[in-house]
Amino acid sequence: MHELSLAGAVIDTAERHAAGRRVLLIQLRLGELRQVVPESLAFYFEHVARGTLCEGATLEYETVPATLGCRECGATWPLTATLGSGSATWGQTPPGGVRPQVAARPSFRCLRCGGADVEVEAGNEFEVESIEVEEPACTG
């Protein structure tokens, strides 16, 4: 339920950039590793946005897949490459409730050299990419 606080953070950010104008649309980039549930975020957003410039705004989001990079050997790979067959989604037990096998364990170790000095190159995003605001018609 971190989506409640995250909804507040989205609204604060959008309002800061809206400069007093009504916000109609907010586009987000959600990294896969942040484990944000978009439906839950939208639910809380609707409530928290009441009485703000963001009231009634639409939330759109793009999910950013997790990509890892090894600082030792320079390899980069998508996190999904470390998931074995049968476990389609990060962190979830395969269908049927089977205990995840070692092969299905997502690993943050380097796929090529096994090194531990691995950085997350993408997948940690929780960004407001852009907003659309209502602009009064130009009177000039």
Binding site: L4, R34, Q35, G91, P100, V120, E127, I131, E132, E134
Partner: protein, 230 residues
Amino acid sequence: MHRVKVRVVEDALDANNTIARANRDDFDRHGVAVVNLMSAPGAGKTSLLERALERPLGEGIRVGVLEGDVQGEYDAMRIASLHVPVTQINTDSGFGGECHLDANMVRTALPSVPLAEIDLLVIENVGNLVCPAEFRVGEDVRVMVAAITEGEDKPLKYPLMYRTCELVLINKVDLLPHLEVDLEELLANIDAVHPGVETLVVSARTGEGVEEWRRWLAARVARRAAAPVA
């Protein structure tokens, strides 16, 4: 009226991070090492803190505690009985009660924390494996408690929390003979999501590993003391 697109490209948590940096500056000015202690509810944060602080951590090391809870002062009372200065933050003033501490809650509580009189501040976060990992509060280091009773799969389910910590305390190991939990599997899962992270196997109940936990805390204070003061 017409629609105008405004490019933002900003981390939505930037505002929190800015306040966290202000907290960090205050901690640095007083040369205080700060630990953000996190876990699921009931994993043993307060118990491990009590065990660590029931005797002085080391010569001249003065400790303060900031307790974060949705409601109540139960934990603060436990810590206060050890004659450690403690400040309680309750997060229930908002919409349903926040499930974590953020930088601003800590900032608001700072005036009642005697920064000039302590060397180590432990911020005990609200029990939760998701939200606290999202919000920096100005800490030097993050420590989490993983109780063995939670099962060996939790690192795979809550990778963000496990990845943001520099130390994982595996608590309640005295219960291992009574459980079907595989400690080696838990350690392997922790290593999978956070390769090389430090782990300590402990029991707040029997005291196993508590000396190592105390030495780890004392070492963080020594490291802070050796760093140049801002």
